[in-house]
Amino acid sequence: MKTRPNYLAGIGAFIWLAIVAVPLYVMLSATFQTRAGFGDNGPLSLPTTFTLQNYVDAVTSGFGLYFLNTVIVTVGVVGLVLLLVPPLSYAIVRSQSRAASAIFRLFLLGLAIPAQAVIVPVFYLINTVGLYDNLLGVILPTAAFALPICTIILSGTMRDITPELYEAMAMDGATPARSFLRLVLPLSKGGLSTIAVFSALQAWNGFLFPLILTQSESTRVVTLGLFNFQTQFGINIPGLLAAVTLSMVPVLLVYLFARRALVQGLMGAGGK
């Protein structure tokens, strides 16, 4: 069937393109202009100056350290999620005990708990165990709040493994641990990469837990660094936007090289 072009939709699509792309253009063009040049020309004009100084400023004003902190938090969160979620999902999908299905229902309800709702007790808890202003104190709750969606995603993947395969393993006398390592993990690679990307995004973009649970510059993460940069040097717009641009580079790289995993990770439960 031949479809004729839909001009009205085309026009609408281009209007939305402008709304999405113009701010991004302003962001990028500002970062390569001198502050004076940006101020004189205005944000929408074509740049007349070129400099990389804004990126240098952003990095030297602490973003190097903030990046390192965010990387530590992200690695910690992804590591914890990959350690905790696969055995849990395996139990949910394969265990016949009532406890396992009760636990799954609990995690479904866990989806409903917004981080804001428990931030006061989490603050109390982290303080009590002495992890305030410590990156580990950010990693633990961030990972905990990534668990419900990751569990739903990974149990979905594990359900797609046919029961015959499990039975064949069991027939050969495989223990649950052996089935898990030899069968479940290798056949769940898609789900594992989705939950890795999802939890990495949660950690990379996380704001509330670092805001409440850290205070000093040595534990500052990128998102908080942007907020802080904005309150302190709000008038240095090119420098600020260079920092914003830098903060999205790692996610952009994942987008370019692992688009499928990123889209699925972004969609989380929404895409299921």
């Binding site: 699509a13 055995p87 849990l88 394969r94 299905s101 428990v118 603050f123 905990a144 907020f227």
Partner: protein
């Protein structure tokens, strides 16, 4: 992977075979994991989400400034909350944000999603650009828009036909409009993806039949596409409600709840009471209100999205 997961082997061996129920619905119980496999994650989740949830309920009946121990004060925080005009206003504002978010984002993302579901090459290229805001964190997006809307250096200087005197965040209406617009800029790509995926699942034969019957593009959209997207619309709207309820970074960075308390939505009010006024009791009470609202919504998610059915129909495979 294998090394990190190794420690979980031993408890499984002990618990696996004994804990399993006899196979009642086909399949053998041999070699099945026991529920101990679920314990590490469950304990961890309980510690940071479920126990704090109970604690927040307890704390809402106490007075605590962050130093020393919380003191029990009965219903004092709750009484104060019911008389707090900012709390009442924040609930109305949250509702307004949610409704305006749904009204602006849903039609737009349905149209964009259906449009982007087409196989034309230009559509694929534009969709890739539409996607970019998803790569930025809420904090980055808020900082970006704060800079773009700067009265001196930002867009208002060059677009006075739209922004007037340029101080868009200075009035309540302007601040709300900005937050709704930025929400739209940030989240439309996400919902577009939902609809794009769903629109691609619609069987082409429906459209072929409709066009044989002489239905035009518009008629096809309303008679085929929209009804077929019903489930996605439910999912998307529920996600917007939960997301709208917990919006925080955008408000903190773009408007700081202002002007005055003009954009102090409930989640932001909670933050202010607890972490700026150090009234953790009242903050906990507000948090509990948020939990109740979002639990009600989440029950709806579980019921409407079919997660619960998915569990029961496949349980014990």
């Amino acid at each position: 992977m294998t090394t990190t997961l190794a420690p979980r082997r031993r408890p499984a061996r002990q618990g696996g075979p004994t804990k399993g129920r006899p196979a009642s619905r086909g399949g053998s119980s041999v070699g099945r994991p026991g529920f101990v496999w679920a314990l590490p994650a469950s304990i961890f989740f309980a510690l940071f989400a479920l126990v704090p949830l109970l604690a927040v309920a307890v704390l809402s009946f106490t007075s605590w400034s962050g130093l020393g121990d919380p003191k029990f004060v009965g219903l004092k925080n709750w009484e104060a909350l019911f008389e707090d005009p900012v709390m009442l206003q924040s609930l109305w504002l949250s509702l307004l944000f949610i409704v305006l978010g749904i009204v602006t984002q849903t039609p737009l993302s349905i149209l964009l999603g259906v449009w982007a579901a087409g196989n034309q090459r230009n559509r694929a290229i534009l969709s890739a650009i539409y996607f970019v805001p998803l790569l930025l964190s809420s904090a980055a997006i808020s900082v970006l828009w704060r800079a773009l809307l700067d009265p001196n250096f930002g867009l208002p200087g060059q677009m006075s036909w739209l922004f007037g005197d340029g101080n868009v965040l200075g009035t309540q209406t302007g601040a709300i409009a900005v937050l709704i617009f930025v929400g739209m800029w940030q989240f439309t790509p996400f919902h577009t993806l939902i609809y794009q995926g769903a629109a691609r699942q619609i069987p082409p034969v429906l459209y072929q039949a409709a066009s044989i019957d002489g239905a035009g593009t518009v008629r096809q959209f309303f008679s085929i596409t929209l009804p077929q997207l019903k489930n996605s619309i439910i999912t998307s709207v529920i996600l917007m409600v939960v997301g709208g309820l917990t919006t925080f970074e955008t408000v903190l960075i773009l408007t700081n709840g202002g002007p005055g308390t003009g954009t102090t939505i409930t989640a932001f009010h909670m933050y202010q009471e607890a972490f700026r006024r150090f009234d953790f009791g009242t903050g906990s009470a507000i948090a509990l209100v948020l939990v109740v609202i979002s639990t009600v919504i989440s029950f709806a998610v579980v019921r409407l999205s079919g997660y619960d059915k998915m569990r029961s129909s496949l349980e014990g495979l």
